[in-house]
């Protein structure tokens, strides 16, 4: 038996391909939405992987440092280092901000050897939203691997940037009051929001996050000096001590802990909670916070879009197949009159709907693969999603064809005979 559906498709292939192309672009958008969600989850996991920590020690009663703000003293890590089962502990700060490229930069502010090609690009003033990470070299929290350049070796004003930031080696970037030179580039080092990371030395990051600007410091000093309780004529050095305390900050956002081999992360976390009165999260708990809480609303939003796009796709397939079937009323009546079984006619319509789905799926997959990398946020197209997408497309096409099949089966074979 010949394939009636196949022959019909071959006969009007241009109409079929164009329809499939339109449907495919819609399916491509659906795939991309799913890819955006996967990308968000992956960004969250990448953030945890890159920190290379087993435990996150943060301010009590907070879910920091990514989901909520957290502030703890930078000497806490010493006490944690002394606890059993702790292999490494390091301070870390996170600050999401606009990092300017080449702005308000004076080449003379850098040592002679660093006045390189980057300073030629100073005129390209631009902002990049980035997560500035303060880390200690050789400790958890430092960038895992570099794709270009070198690691941070100086204690101040050097940075390693994720390649997604658009910064290049030798570029000069401005974070708060200071200029930094990009000495290394990393890849897939992003925040849970997908913003590229810029790694700078911890001391610089602490200053960037907690230190006030010059005007505010002058104002604060004037207020302190005007306070007779803090500026006692009979106590020399008191005012200076208070001002020094006000202008320095010894806070960090979290302490990243690496657990010794063979030790349970949960058990070490319990000890830290008990003895240090701090909040401690394990890797699983942190993943739960990032994936289930931090991006939950976005995930629901994307889920809604996916549902709507699926319904729209189903409606379009149903409409197209229904219209195509109504355009063949006379042929179907003749087929029924000459003895074609209902299941043959239903099979023809179903095969056409599935054919349309296959074309749409292929176009959608190719389109999503092509335009995915152009999206500002990471779009992760997983093979598993493609398989699930294919099954859903086929199911949607099958459901959509039922309307047309019902219409076809209702066609009276007597329609073929006049009168």
């Amino acid at each position: 038996m010949i394939s009636l559906a196949g022959r019909d498709i071959l006969h009007s292939w241009s109409k079929f391909i164009l329809t499939g192309l339109g449907l495919g672009l819609l399916i491509g958008v659906t795939f991309t939405m799913a890819g955006v969600y996967r990308g968000m989850v992956d960004d969250a996991k990448v953030l945890l992987n890159n920190s290379s920590a087993d435990l996150w020690v943060v301010q009590k009663d907070t879910q920091g440092p990514y989901a909520e703000s957290s502030s703890i003293h930078d000497d806490v890590y010493r006490g944690i280092l002394g606890m059993p089962g702790v292999a490494q502990a390091a301070n870390v700060t996170y600050l999401t901000m606009q990092v300017r490229k080449g702005a308000a930069f004076s080449p003379n502010s850098l040592p002679e050897g660093e006045r390189g090609a980057g300073s030629l690009r100073e005129s390209h003033n631009s902002d990049v939203r980035a997560m500035v990470v303060g880390f200690e070299p050789g400790q958890p929290g430092e960038p895992g691997y570099l794709v270009a350049g070198r690691r941070v070796t100086r204690t101040h004003y050097e940075a390693v940037a994720d390649i997604k930031s658009g910064f290049a080696l030798g570029d000069h970037i401005r974070i708060r009051r200071h200029n930094y030179i990009v000495v290394g580039l990393s890849r897939r080092m992003v925040s849970s929001g997908g913003d590229p990371m810029v790694f700078i030395p911890l001391k610089d990051a602490q200053e960037a996050q907690f230190l006030k600007d010059n005007d505010a410091i002058i104002n604060e000093r004037a207020r302190t000096a005007a306070n007779p309780a803090l500026n006692r004529p009979g106590v020399p050095g008191l005012l200076n001590a208070i001002e020094a305390a006000q202008s320095s900050n010894h806070n960090v956002n979290a302490v990243l802990v690496r657990v010794a081999e063979g030790r349970s992360a949960e058990a070490v976390a319990q000890d830290i909670r008990r003895w240090k009165h701090l909040q401690v999260f394990t890797r699983e708990q942190m993943e739960e916070i990032l994936v289930a809480k931090l991006i939950a609303t976005s995930a629901k939003q994307i889920g809604m879009f996916l549902v709507i796009l699926t319904i729209v796709s189903a409606a379009i397939v149903a409409f197209i197949i229904y219209t195509m079937t109504l355009g063949k009323i006379r042929e179907i009546a003749v087929l029924k009159l000459i003895g074609t079984r209902n299941r043959t006619i239903a099979g023809m319509i179903l095969q056409q709907a599935l054919g349309l789905g296959v074309i749409g799926f292929a176009v959608g997959k190719i389109a999503a693969t092509i335009w995915g990398p152009a999206f500002p946020k990471y779009v992760l197209l997983e093979p598993g999603d493609a398989v699930r997408g294919f099954v859903i497309v086929m199911l949607v096409c099958t459901l959509a064809s039922t309307l047309a099949i019902r219409a076809a089966l209702k066609i009276d074979p007597a329609t073929a005979i006049g009168g």
Partner: protein, 237 residues
């Protein structure tokens, strides 16, 4: 099964609706067509031609009567054949006013479709289709699409399709209506040849004055009743 009978109907009636709104479209119609015979079914619009054709074609169910096809009783105050679709496929050929060829099948497959639907292997079905196309002088267009054929060629292909399963009866619904005199007579010549060659009983529903004189026997239908008349049987040569 009496092979000497193409189609035979006795007292066939068809009533649409019920009660005060009931309409008797056919009133105890009698008709008999022998194998190899071509008869005309003539009547004005609304006389019941299409209703009779639909009853004969097992498309609608008569209200009462008896119908015999190729010697087998297929209707006797109720259908005697469980699968009417199979009956239409294997034992009744249809020719329509317009050819109604399947536009996405080529000429050969339009004809071969019926044997294929009946379960014949594709090769055998196509061989049979080509035989018929040769007999109808359209074998040279075997690979053409229906849209590439002239009106006359399309009608010949539709005749080949009607003959594809060697049915004992063919019902032709105004097959010459859209054709000019020469082509209409050519179609009638072909129908007579095919009826004779394949021993098929052919009933031609028509009100085409050009072809009415060619029938040897005509059934007139008026107000749901048939009247038999001997036709002129004018030569088609």
């Amino acid at each position: 099964m009496d092979k000497g009978i193409g189609i035979h109907i006795e007292g066939l009636s068809k009533r649409y609706g019920a009660g005060n709104t009931a309409v008797d479209a056919l009133k105890e119609v009698n008709m008999s067509v022998a194998p190899g015979e071509v008869v005309g079914l003539v009547g004005p619009s609304g006389a019941g031609k299409s209703t009779l054709l639909k009853c004969l074609g097992a498309v609608i169910e008569p209200t009462q009567g008896r119908m015999t096809l190729g010697g087998e009783v297929i209707y006797d105050n109720g259908w005697k054949i469980p699968d009417l679709r199979m009956l239409r496929r294997d034992r009744i050929g249809f020719i329509f006013q317009a050819p109604y060829l399947i536009p996405f099948l080529d000429v050969t497959d339009n004809v071969a479709l019926l044997p294929m639907l009946a379960g014949r292997p594709n090769g055998e079905a196509r061989t049979r289709a080509l035989e018929l196309l040769r007999a109808l002088d359209v074998a040279h267009r075997a690979k053409a699409q229906p849209s590439e054929l002239s009106g006359g060629e399309q009608q010949r292909v539709s005749i080949a399709r009607a003959l594809a399963n060697r049915p004992p009866v063919i019902l032709a619904d105004e097959p010459t209506a859209p054709l000019d005199s020469a082509r209409a007579l050519a179609v009638m010549r072909i129908l007579n040849q095919m009826a004779s060659q394949y021993q098929t009983a052919i009933i031609v529903v028509t009100h085409d004055e050009k072809i009415i004189p060619t029938f040897k026997r005509i059934y007139h239908i008026r107000d749901g009743r048939t009247f038999e008349e001997v036709g002129e049987g004018r030569s088609l040569e």
